[in-house]
Symmetry: C2
Subunit: 707 residues, 2 copies
């Protein structure tokens, strides 16, 4: 994962034993040698074998590397990442044009390692691989919550394992200024609570990333999102200060004053310093979500706008962007920014990052600008991997993609959000402008302890979408492979698999958390922006140690339950397949309830989850009633359907920003019981489709918003 561009399994296998050895022919460099050292250590960790570090003769080596040249020591957009891997019974041969291709091939080889009764081996295979898109990134917001070096390093390892190649660091925002400036030390001193990367650390991080074939693109968000800058530099603001670091979440008014030369002189010096520090040709200047409110409040800015015939805030921002673009050009950098920077005078070599959606991507491509897609890849929205996987920067068929994607909209958002087919398709001639995409991890509700579990394993789905051919779209197979890779990713110290239990033990104050783990495995954090909406008192200092933080973004147990219901319904009208599993599950929910309630009672931090435990009990009861009806072939009594659905609607309510992920399979069970009389009249598939459709129709509409 990601699936290679071309792959054929063959008969045979290459045993991996303690005699595993490597021969490098052609070019080698320090990066390649260190990558091989890391590879050996990972092989050792998985196999428990002690492997030799001595280079082998070419004819005796288990792995032969043929690399033509080192390529750019610093990863660069458009590097040749292709490689081929040939495994037969006697050796594995990895060929690449450049070191970076060899790095990609090494990860593929590590994923191929398997074991059975006869020992470890690589299956015989012929792989020829290259990425679909050259820009495959991850944005980490280190401003809203601070992420120290080790968090970034282990995530760089994870990124390399799934062939991502850009780490986009969102370094500054209202809530924190996270990089040392030697030119203006007051920026990080007063804007960061002491939590920032020193320049030495930045260099260390860039080198660490480069060793793994990953670029580091810094973002300095402006002219909005700058409160943390204004703490020490209120003179740059549009409205008189003083300012202090913003502790809340949202979109705020503080903005640089784009009308004063002093601001550009400051930016010239600051961006000049950062241009030296960050070697990548692109520099991201944000440019998003400027409210314009502070510009309206300042008469001097208003008169400047009148004088320069700038009709509105958008025009003034365009003016600002143009001047910043000139500064970047002066310092040898190309501009990158969010959708909002797109306007007629934007330099041709700028890259537009799209948070608004396919339409914006198409528009920038139409205007000839390179663009990358981030809309649809917001991992902080707590959506299923299947949804992200279904979003394609260049879909073959926008309509079909939208239908597929809509299957993955969480139930609680069924009436609130649906994908629509893109209005503007991207014509083939513009496709070259779509460079790829970036998953985003905004950090309002993640910290150094929980970020891994919000990134992984779902990020692997985005990585595959951006690397593998367009026609690799089997979601079920993706989930199967994702589970396997997720465990492999732990070897980098990533905490996604383990942190949930750590938090549950902390919440329970005990090691005995069986029923609590069962509950946590069936719930999910609320989706999109529901967490701040439901919990408006959230601040930067709030501990992220609640059930919502322990719950995985996507409940695989709920998916398994749903799949059992599918089995049952597809077995109409016998209703045998899956029935035992479902009965056992519902019995378990009922049986652990008293112990669970006691656990929740004993920990005040878990009190908020008590209604969820009770809701689960109700679900168990409802499920068992439906199963009884289906198994006995008895139609439920009149009114039962409405009562049962009502019960489920009660159970659907979020508590503590957590919702049960088991709603829809339960609704389907209820409707299956209710629609049972028709099951013998219709073909199973048609009847099942009817049940599913009615179950969707049974999702209650959210109340109208008050105006």
């Amino acid at each position: 994962m990601p699936v290679p561009a071309s792959l054929q399994f063959r008969d045979g296998r290459l045993p991996v034993t303690a005699a595993f050895s490597i021969h490098v022919q052609g070019s080698t460099d320090r990066r390649l040698e260190e990558a091989l050292r890391r590879m050996l250590r990972r092989l050792e960790g998985r196999t428990s074998l002690t492997l030799s570090r001595e280079p082998a003769e070419p004819q005796k080596a288990t792995l032969v590397l043929e690399v033509k040249g080192p390529g750019n020591a610093l990863p660069t957009l458009g590097d040749d990442e292709s490689y081929s891997l040939e495994v037969d019974g006697s050796r594995a041969t990895l060929r690449a044009t450049q070191t970076v291709g060899a790095l990609r091939g090494i990860e593929t080889m590590l994923q191929l390692l398997q074991g059975d009764r006869d020992g470890w081996y690589l299956p015989a295979v012929t792989i020829s691989d290259r990425p679909r898109f050259p820009w495959r990134g991850l944005l980490i917001d280190v401003s809203r919550h601070w992420m120290p070096m080790d968090v970034l390093k282990r995530n760089l390892d994870g990124m390399a394992a799934v062939k991502l190649n850009v780490l986009h660091l969102h370094l500054t925002d209202d809530q924190g200024f996270r990089v040392e400036s030697r030119r203006f030390p007051e920026l990080h001193e007063q804007g960061s609570d002491g939590l920032y990367f020193t320049q030495e650390q930045v260099r260390e991080l860039i080198a660490y990333a480069a060793d793994r074939g990953i670029r580091v693109v810094p973002e300095f968000d402006m002219p909005g999102h700058v409160t943390s800058w204004l703490v020490s530099h209120p003179e740059l603001a549009s409205v008189m200060g003083p300012y202090s670091i913003q502790r809340k979440w949202g979109i705020f008014d503080p903005t640089l004053d784009p009308t004063r030369d002093q601001v550009y002189a400051f930016l010239d010096a600051f961006l000049g310093e950062m241009a030296q520090l960050f070697p990548d040709p692109w520099m991201h200047i944000g440019g998003d979500e400027n409210t314009g409110n502070h510009w309206r409040l300042n008469p001097a800015i208003q008169s400047f706008m009148a004088q320069h015939r700038l009709a509105d805030a958008h025009a003034l921002q365009a003016y600002f962007d143009d001047r910043v673009a000139q500064l970047l050009q002066k310092h040898g950098k190309r501009m990158m920014g969010w959708d909002e920077i797109l306007h007629p005078t934007l330099p041709r070599d700028a890259v537009v990052q799209t948070w608004r959606g396919p339409k914006a991507l198409a528009e920038s491509a139409r205007q000839g600008y390179s663009g990358i897609l981030s809309w649809g890849y917001y991992l902080d929205h707590m959506l299923p991997a299947g949804l992200h996987y279904t979003v394609d920067p260049l879909p073959a068929d926008g309509k079909r993609m939208s239908e597929e994607a809509n299957r993955w909209i969480p139930v609680s958002w069924y009436h609130r959000f649906q994908f629509k087919p893109p209005e503007v398709a991207i014509p083939e001639k513009n496709a070259v402008h779509v460079l790829g995409g970036e998953a985003c991890m905004w950090s309002e509700f993640v910290d150094a302890e929980t970020i891994d579990s919000r990134l992984w394993p779902r990020l692997t789905a985005v990585a595959e979408r951006l690397w593998s051919p367009r026609n690799v779209t089997d979601v079920k197979d993706m989930y199967r492979r994702m589970a396997r890779i997720s465990v492999q990713l732990e070897e980098h110290g990533l905490m996604h698999e383990r942190i949930g239990e750590v938090l549950l033990r902390r919440l329970a104050g005990s090691n005995e958390i069986g029923p609590l783990r069962a509950l946590a495995n069936l719930v999910e954090p609320v989706k999109f922006y529901d967490r701040p909406v439901q919990f408006q008192e959230a601040t930067q200092g709030m501990p992220l140690t609640r059930l919502v933080d322990a719950a995985r973004p996507e409940s695989l147990e709920a998916r398994a339950l749903w799949s059992s219901v599918d089995d049952l319904l597809s077995d109409a009208p016998r209703f045998d397949r899956g029935a035992e599993r479902l009965t056992r599950t519902f019995h378990q929910w009922r049986e652990f309830h008293p112990e669970l309630r006691q656990l929740l009672d004993n920990s005040p931090a878990l009190h908020e989850a008590r209604p969820l435990a009770d809701a689960l009990l109700l679900m168990a009861q409802t499920g068992l009633e439906a199963l009884a009806s289906l198994e006995s072939g008895t139609t439920p009594r009149p009114g039962w359907r409405e009562e049962a659905l009502q019960r489920l609607n009660e159970a659907a309510r979020p508590h503590g920003q957590v919702e049960l992920a088991t709603l829809q399979p339960l609704r389907e069970l209820v409707l299956a019981a209710a629609l049972q009389p028709e099951a013998s009249a219709l073909p199973a598939a048609a009847w099942q489709a009817r049940v599913k459709a009615e179950a969707l129709a049974a999702i209650p509409k959210p109340p109208e918003k008050k105006k």
Copy 2:
């Protein structure tokens, strides 16, 4: 934990809510303020409450601190660590003479936090506390396996949580030279594979420890254990080089040449540099396990000995120690070393660290030397917490202590090691020379990933032994509290609770590890030095990712099983109590066996555990037979007892340096079935004692060693 010197619970409770606030009166310093910040963050993490950082008025504060003075900024032997803590319905009052006492009291308060249906609270309590011993340490060997900064930092946090106050860093040994020397950079450059602490890191670590009231004592082991020094300085050796870093485990011959002035000139410069770097008054020079072989090989050394009338290697080492002691004195340091340094000319202010046992401790105390006990506290021996807990540096009754301690000797060592009552008791007048003790973590078989799980939670038992009054000896209660504290310790990032599952997932290559986890929970690594003896090919590069590394040093599940057997036997001749639990357990072992075998087959790294899985199945069968006999009141057929015990003896064999921890309760079950006819004739307790005695007698003797 550790239990305070004096503690009375009272009626009432102090609610801990989001309004929790602090008032500090009297002295404060940066250390105290940072400790309070850390305390608030931990409170927040556990309670999920967001707490204020604003100081409160004294009458409104939830916690009032009264500290008389800051005390030594750098922790010093003999610091006043006492404190008192008074909690009533309106506030908690923590009083201490010095900041370091306040640090100890804060940990006690954090341990008191509880929750129930009504919320979080501190129980009303009156505590007056002070340590029993002033030297309560942990030795970490960073030489044999490298332990980076974050490992040491999180373990310093853990040490502070249980009131330990000395981190003893074993910095150099045959396998690695782990500290930067600016005077002789070739030492760390050639002796460490690049894995060493820079001087900046050392200072950072010392400051981190000092903030937590913990001293850092460095050890530079000499004249033996110096292979890593000799890589770059073969001219200091007793036998001509060249030398390379030792990769194996054991006791090796390379030794400094004590007869040449050049060696002392070098040590003068090197120790002088280290004396500047490490501020603690003591410097540990090891002095242990010098084979003397290389001294015998060198004629020049032999003639030096003749000339100076040094009768043997011990005498020559005494000469060496004396000269090193003079160097230490010159650099303002006191000497510390292992037992072997004890000889008549040892400076009076030296501290002797005992690895040989109570007799050696008594001897150094008799000679008026201060000593600390490490024998009995070797956590790398994989012994039960109960054993370490039972070892007391100053036992009230040596005989009774030995009996208690022998209950904790693992079955596999029953015939190989038993505690004997000390031959020499330490008279009261010498007791003052016993400063305390140090747990030891030698790192042949632990690395940065596994060390936490080999230290914790067992280290808490040693910490309590060294802090709490001598009469705190309830082992069962210690285990109860240890389980609770173990979970709290996770908040420092300690990995002891989570790493086992991480390794099992890696071994299985999957998230579905149910039966593997069940097996891992019933086994233990082999004890004392059995791991290297059974696995002689072990080297420094060997991956520590096998079942033996995932298994906890002490199986709590096996203890629980034993306790169920105790319940059953004490219920003779009804045999009802505990029977259902035991039956369920044995059925489980039988049921998961096929799935477990498949898991083990599929991962070659787990092949070595297949005999253990089969042994567990045999145990289940044996246990069920015994239960059937006891429940039906039927005496087993003739020969069954012998057959069953033989089966268990087969099951007792270690595989992959792992042994099943369930042997003895199973033997007891077998003997209970066999001795059933006598159960109605004897009082239950007497019959049970008989069963236990025969079960011990049934442990087979190990074969005689070949000569």
